[in-house]
Amino acid sequence: MRGEPQGRKWSGRAVVLLPCVWLVVFFLTPFVIVLKISLSQTALAQPPYSPVFDLSAGWAGFLDFARQLSLESFRLLFTDLIYLLSYLKSLQVAAISTLILVLVGYPFAYGIARAPRGWQPLLVMALVLPFWTSFLIRVYAWINILQRDGLLNDVLMRLHIVDVPLIWLSSDTAIYIGIVYSYLPFMVLPLYAALEKMDESLLEAAADLGCPRWKTFWLVVVPLSLPGAAAGALLCFIPIVGEFVIPDLLGGSETLMIGQTLWTEFFANRDWPVASAIAVTLLALLLVPMLFYERLQQRSLEGGR
């Protein structure tokens, strides 16, 4: 703006500066380092990779360092079947879970949105409250229920539905249950927000023009709440791909999800380069959905004016 004193511009810069510096140091730089280590080789040393970047070695040192980088870890990822299967499984689990979450979450969110005005904050609170208790606790609670001598089998046997206790844990089913359970608020909340904002007069107009209630849902409500559903779906899908705790506690030891693979490579095998390579590939895989999510987020926040 013409004639505006310089002070305003500088105070603006100061506001951005602090979070920006923090993020560059603790968010961007780590990624560069991960990339660098993914290009390194395992070594029996502390830290367990080589080459180690030595600033004091100067330019020659840097060139020497660059020469030692290799794509060995990445080659391993693409050739060894374990990793490919792990990625595929993660994507599969994430896709199916997200689908289940949408199917389960929609009626839930819609029900809350249709509730009487005074009830809605209470219902949202009830939805969110479990989320405020420990994530670990909630997964752990399912172990209690799903274990061999757990509650589910107990009930099933009492009702004579089965004679022998079933194996629920250490299976993909358990993983799905755990994921849907833990991520439900992340799906319902954005959906509810979108449904709640909907203009009631649109539904009345549809009814006035002869549309029965169920049809109005499909023709009016669903299309208009699609951005909310998309936001919720992405908010769930992306982190689920990299999930570790739930498959680790509830899943079996056949194919591991990629989060587990990364953990194993890092902590059990002490293979930092491969773990880093897994992380880099995972990030590359998720980049497009993440960008998409961010676009949705910005648009919805600005559209809310």
């Binding site: 703006m1 013409r2 004639g3 505006e4 004193p5």
Partner: protein
């Protein structure tokens, strides 16, 4: 007077220089031009109104004076000094916002005294001046109340007190009466006028309500699409609009199209009209004669020679209580509006639908417009 063009204002008076002067101010928002090369003077101690339809730029202009928008081009002089580079919190100008913008977390006293606390005025003096203000806006005893406990009219008075307590050079009012109902609005209009007279502060009000502007203001600037159409006292604007647009915007009017003849007559389809008074139209120019409905007489017989007259039939009667507005269908199928005061206490109107009547007016009454 009726000269049209951009800087349509009265000649600058020889006494005091203006308090506020807008010099060729332009404000653009991207590709939208909100205010276009606007020049305007506002005098010391006057109650000035910015009037126009929504989107005409009046609020934008007000905000440039307050400092919340910076002009893309041009200068704004306050007492001869360019205030454009001065930030809003340093300008001796205060604003009463349309939404009142009262601080919800402060009490009435807290709100009113806010400006003085920024000036580091002594506590005791602040308390005194707040008390003074509460009396002025008739809110004695309300000091401790919270904002959410006040009615709309009370909030408005707090907003006014808050803006006035700093004794600004100019008080800006952004559609202050828009949220009030008709009754309250009328009362408040007179209160504002009284207040302004008592304090002698220059008030600049933005409004889209032309009646309000005419009642309240000493001078009005009529704006349309970022440009000044006419700046003059209310009577001048009403009786001597400088264009068809202004004539149509303020009050009701009938336009008769014609050509100016050599002897100050207008040749039109309805006959030859005599006009008195000067205009800058030349013989042979296409002109419009603007007539106000209350200046036209309605008679059953043809009036005498001195008056302009046309014949017609009553096509519609609108009863308004104090007046009746008649729509008269003329020979060229055009419609003329006539307003008659309802003097009869029995609610009868002197004419009925489909009556054949004569409309007449003296030559001095019409305004000749060239645009």
């Amino acid at each position: 007077m009726a000269d049209g063009g951009q800087a349509a204002q009265e000649p600058v008076s020889i006494e005091k220089p203006p308090l506020v002067r807008f010099e060729a101010v332009t404000k653009r928002f991207g590709s939208v031009v909100a205010v276009e090369t606007l020049s305007l003077d506002i005098k010391h101690g006057e109650f000035f109104a910015l009037l126009g339809p929504s989107g005409c730029g009046k609020t934008t202009l007000l905000r440039t004076l307050a400092g919340f928008e910076a002009p893309t081009e041009g200068r704004i002089l306050l007492d001869g000094e360019d205030i454009v580079p001065v930030q809003p919190h340093r300008r001796p100008v205060n604003m009463m916002f349309q939404s009142y913008a009262l601080f919800p977390h402060l009490s009435v006293e807290g709100n009113i005294g806010f400006g003085l606390r920024q000036e580091n005025v002594a506590r005791a003096e602040i308390a005194d001046r707040i008390a003074e203000m509460l009396v002025l806006v008739r809110l004695q005893g309300f000091g401790g109340r919270r904002i959410d406990q006040l009615s709309g009219g009370q909030r408005q008075r707090v907003a006014l007190a808050r803006a006035l307590i700093k004794r600004p050079r100019v008080l800006l009012l952004d559609e202050p009466l828009a949220a009030l109902d008709k009754q309250l609005r009328a009362e408040t209009q007179f209160e504002l006028m009284e207040l302004q007279r008592k304090l002698g502060t220059t008030f600049v009000i933005v409004t889209h309500d032309q009646e309000e502007a005419m009642i309240i203001a000493d001078r009005i600037a009529v704006m349309d699409r970022g440009r000044l159409m006419q700046v003059a006292a209310p009577a001048e604007i009403y009786e001597r609009p400088n264009s068809r647009w202004v004539a149509g915007f303020i009050g009701e009017t009938t336009m008769i199209e014609g050509r100016l003849g050599p002897d100050s007559n207008i040749e039109s389809v309805l006959g030859c009209m005599r006009v008195a008074g000067s205009s800058n139209a030349r013989s042979g120019d296409k002109v419009w004669l603007a007539l106000r409905p209350e200046k036209i007489s309605m008679t059953a017989e043809r009036p005498n020679e001195g008056l302009n007259a046309v014949a017609g039939t009553v096509s519609e009667i609108g009863y308004r209580g104090d007046m009746s507005v008649y729509k008269i269908l003329l020979s060229d199928r055009s419609v003329m509006k006539v307003a008659l005061t309802n003097v009869s206490a029995r609610g009868e109107t002197p004419f009925s639908l489909h009556d054949l009547i004569w409309l007449s007016w003296p030559p001095e009454v019409g305004v000749v417009l060239t645009e």
